[in-house]
Symmetry: C2
Subunit: 190 residues, 2 copies
């Protein structure tokens, strides 16, 4: 698992500088996890205690509506963080499910440890603020493209955000993320 | 303007505890601003250097698409923060316009001062992380309601997020925020 922690260190050091001691202290709060393809690591209704840094592999966060239709909230791949953040933050039951689309290696961090580390280490609070700001700005793009009903720019954003995704998941999942039918997706893709 | 700063202090103290000295130091970075109804405080294409804490009044952040249709990204009222955050963060020209829908009192904070204060005061970085987390979670709700094409829940979210809005703005603006026609809005409202 040394490799997993090296990947985490490179990820953190994109935004902050850490001494070896600081990094080791951070690491002591992360639990390595490996899951097989298709494993559901979070079910709707579960209590959510953790978030995950994706070292390797691909996951989807989704919900299924009353008509049985699946809506994809997020894909998560290498260097992404994933959880049901609404449930994690408000300590309410999960509304999303999270499923592995490939074999995955994760580093698990509990909500209480995220907050403890933020409170103990100003640098880590800074890192966390910057990461959630990026998430907020990505969401802003997604809302505007949805409001403008502009499937083409949603498709372009997806290619930008997840460059390798198109080779890694079935077209039906891409269509569900963008919020269009598979027929519309074929037109965007061509 | 003492009242404006008291409102800011109450807002900050919902999340952090400040000594008088710390609060005075923070305040020295905020500029009070007053604008008349209809004033446009940011135009698309402008360089964005500031964000604003809303002390009193109501604003809209919006963009106009190629067909001249207005899309509302956000309303901002008392105790909200407002800017074109994409442009502010990436230091690119504004894509949004921000207009006062009422007479407003604002406290202006520059992007460089936000970052300076976050770096100098761990407490303020914590406050900022919590605020952007709330913004991210609100966006998550909005994306899911847009993807599910569920105008009724978008309307309910709007009522929850901005309880007094419905009495303060024309119906056409509400419809634009939710992304429905005025006819559809009348059905949701009834």
């Amino acid at each position: 698992m040394t490799e997993a922690f090296s990947i985490l260190r490179a990820h953190l050091q994109e935004l902050i500088t850490l001494t070896d001691g600081e990094f080791e202290y951070l690491c002591s709060h992360f639990q390595p996890k490996k899951y097989k393809k298709h494993t559901i690591i979070l079910h709707p209704g579960d209590r959510v205690h953790n978030e995950y840094f994706v070292v390797k592999g691909l996951l989807k966060t989704f919900l299924t509506d009353e008509d049985g239709k699946e809506h994809i909230w997020q894909f998560a791949m290498e260097n992404w963080w994933v959880s049901d953040y609404q449930a994690l933050h408000h300590q309410t039951p999960a509304t999303f499910a999270i499923q592995c689309l490939e074999e995955v290696t994760l580093l698990q961090l509990s909500y209480s440890d995220r907050n403890k580390l933020c409170s103990e280490m100003h640098k880590f609070e800074h890192f966390s603020r910057m990461k959630v700001t990026s998430g907020f700005l990505n969401m802003q793009n997604r809302v505007m493209a949805l409001l403008k009903n502009d499937a083409q720019s949603r498709y372009q954003q997806l290619l930008q955000q997840y460059p390798t995704l198109i080779q890694r998941v079935p077209k039906a999942l891409i269509a569900s993320y963008i919020g269009v039918s598979r027929e519309t997706l074929s037109r965007l893709h061509s």
